[in-house]
């Protein structure tokens, strides 16, 4: 097995017993990328030089007995909406083409100081707005399991890279499911932490009250490892939690015996593929067999979650993206006046989905519509929090499919925004509530396309979320790897 196929834990062990060097590991990752990028386009930028320097420093340090921690020497990919000093960061938008940030995001400095080797910047839907990575201004990414299909989104590049082995782990961002849904359709583990536990400083904002950075990995244990490296209080983010953080992996070996697992009634039925529902149902039975108590739970407000999300997220995005005006950085179009220049630069720089959401958000905040739209959406959000709180009085975790469908065909939903938005129906509630949730692969459908299982937990419930996720992983015994048809590039 090539070293690029190793789990973080296995690679960390080999780096320390001397059977593997960070440089060797990086080179196998880079050659895997060289073989697959033509088909997948998982990366927007591969930082060959920076990564090679970081790898050799990692080797020198280990040789000198300096161990920077579990990620020391491990090749990690970053979604291109996290700023990296001096390395082009575009959020997959024309408006930031060529932009070199003067600072590092907090997660980036934490990975660097942990000895990680940053391979490059992965593709995404422009400004993380989308569920297929087809909204990238620099071309779509494709799914390693079937390159005629999408890798989900918006963190599709990160998911594809981890699934294909052109990174051992990656960071994504999740505003309405953008880590969990691509993880589900590419057969990897994707996790959204409790809102406020991973710093957003240096994450190019889409919807500030919903955005959260999280790990994409090949297994649950790696997810714990990567999360542990990036979370914790950051004084540069006023929404960063400064209280006590739990030990995320503390439940890994505990099993589910006696746990109460709630199955969400609203996240099933119309629009859900039978094979997805079947696989999820089978896993629930396995969990029951493993000693868990299964309880069907109804959260009626979930029926309004998608609508509320498509008012709140665009509203915040309309303000967050106002700063892209052609003055201090990014694309500038000609114009005789500031206003003309700004308007032209923005309409040239933003793609259709981003433009659509800016207009949508401007509408729901504007005079005369605020109360009926944005204001009412905030009430729905409160109702969802209340429903979750009520449910967690009787269950320890909630489970559902991660995505109602497996990976869909490229181009299938681009013409119909609403159909595209429906891809996030299962993931959005946890963003609105700020709670942690994870997607674990539990099998493939008859076309061989991965199916994801979502485990949701209350705020700071990462330990119990991982506890259940690791059992799901064991029960599923999912170990398939994608076969990527190589085409001469």
């Amino acid at each position: 097995m090539n070293s690029n196929e190793l789990s973080l834990t296995a690679a960390a062990a080999q780096l320390r017993d001397g059977s593997l060097t960070a440089t060797g590991l990086l080179e196998s990752v880079l050659s895997r990328a060289a073989d697959t990028e033509a088909q997948l386009h998982a990366y927007l930028t591969i930082d060959h030089q920076g990564a090679r320097e970081a790898a050799s420093v990692a080797d020198e340090n280990l040789a000198a007995g300096i161990d920077q921690g579990p990620l020391h020497g491990i090749p990690i990919a970053l979604k291109d909406n996290m700023v990296t000093r001096g390395l082009e960061t575009t959020a997959a938008s024309q408006i930031l083409s060529g932009y070199k940030p003067p600072y590092d995001a907090t997660v980036v400095s934490r990975l660097r100081s942990g000895g990680a080797v940053l391979v490059g910047k992965t593709n995404l839907d422009e400004f993380a707005m989308g569920s297929s990575t087809e909204n990238s201004a620099f071309g779509p990414s494709y799914n390693p399991w079937d390159i005629t299909r999408v890798p989900g989104g918006s963190s599709g590049g990160s998911a594809a890279a981890v699934a294909a082995g052109s990174a051992l782990g990656a960071l994504g961002s999740d505003t309405g499911g953008s880590i969990r849904q691509p993880a589900a359709v590419t057969g990897v583990v994707g996790m959204k932490p409790t809102y406020g536990t991973v710093s957003r400083y240096g994450l190019i904002a889409f919807a500030s009250s919903l955005d959260q950075i999280g790990p994409l990995t090949r297994n649950v244990e790696d997810s714990v490892l990567l999360l542990s490296a990036i979370w914790g209080h950051d004084s540069l983010d006023a929404t960063s939690y400064s209280g006590k953080y739990p030990e995320p992996g503390s439940g890994l070996a505990k099993g589910v015996d006696g746990l109460r697992i709630g199955v969400v009634k609203e996240l099933a039925g119309e629009g859900y593929e039978p094979e997805v529902e079947g696989a999820v149902h089978a896993m629930v039975e396995l969990l029951e067999g493993a000693g868990a108590q299964i309880i069907e739970v109804s959260l009626p407000s979930f029926d309004f979650a998608l609508s509320a999300y498509y008012l709140i997220a665009p509203a915040e995005c309309s303000a967050n993206l106002a700063r892209f005006d052609g003055i201090r950085y990014g694309h500038r179009a000609p114009g005789d006046t500031t206003e003309a220049m700004m308007s032209r630069s923005r309409s040239e720089g933003f793609g259709p989905e981003v433009t659509r959401r800016i207009l949508l958000g401007t509408y729901s905040l504007s005079a005369g519509y605020y109360d009926a739209f944005y204001g009412q959406a905030q009430r729905v959000r409160s109702a969802i929090r209340a429903d979750f709180a009520k449910a967690y009085e009787n269950v320890d975790v909630l489970v559902s499919p991660t995505s109602p469908t497996v990976a869909f065909k490229a181009g299938e939903r681009t013409a119909d925004p609403l159909a595209m938005y429906l891809s996030d129906i299962c993931t959005i509630p946890s963003n609105l509530s700020g709670h942690p949730a994870i997607s674990v692969p539990i099998g493939v459908d008859e076309q061989g396309l991965p199916i994801g299982f979502q485990v949701m937990a209350p705020a700071l419930g990462e330990p119990i979320m991982y506890q259940v996720a690791s059992v799901v992983e064991a029960l599923a015994g999912f170990s398939a790897r994608p076969e990527i048809a190589m085409v001469a590039s």
Binding site: A308, Y310, R332, R344, I358, L359, F373, V380, A383
Partner: protein
Amino acid sequence: MPVEIDIAHLARLARLDLSEAEMERYQAQLSVILDHAARVQSLEGEPEVEVAHPLGFVNAFRSDTVTPSLDRDEVLAQAPDSSAGYFVAPPALET
């Protein structure tokens, strides 16, 4: 309820320079999405609007201490136009 949308006004507020054709297209798409989004209005009850952080904390402040600023050349290197340490933009015409 049919939602009325003044797309030209929205584009102006958002500083987007859209063609007639684009405006028509976005107007149509927005009304579909907003018709669906209007479902939020049928939520039962009137729960209080939640402004608090999901972890419920308040008062996140910094102490009044000066930290180093950025290097001006590194900052201006990213600007489309700059001169003598300033960013340069076209004239602001108030019309």
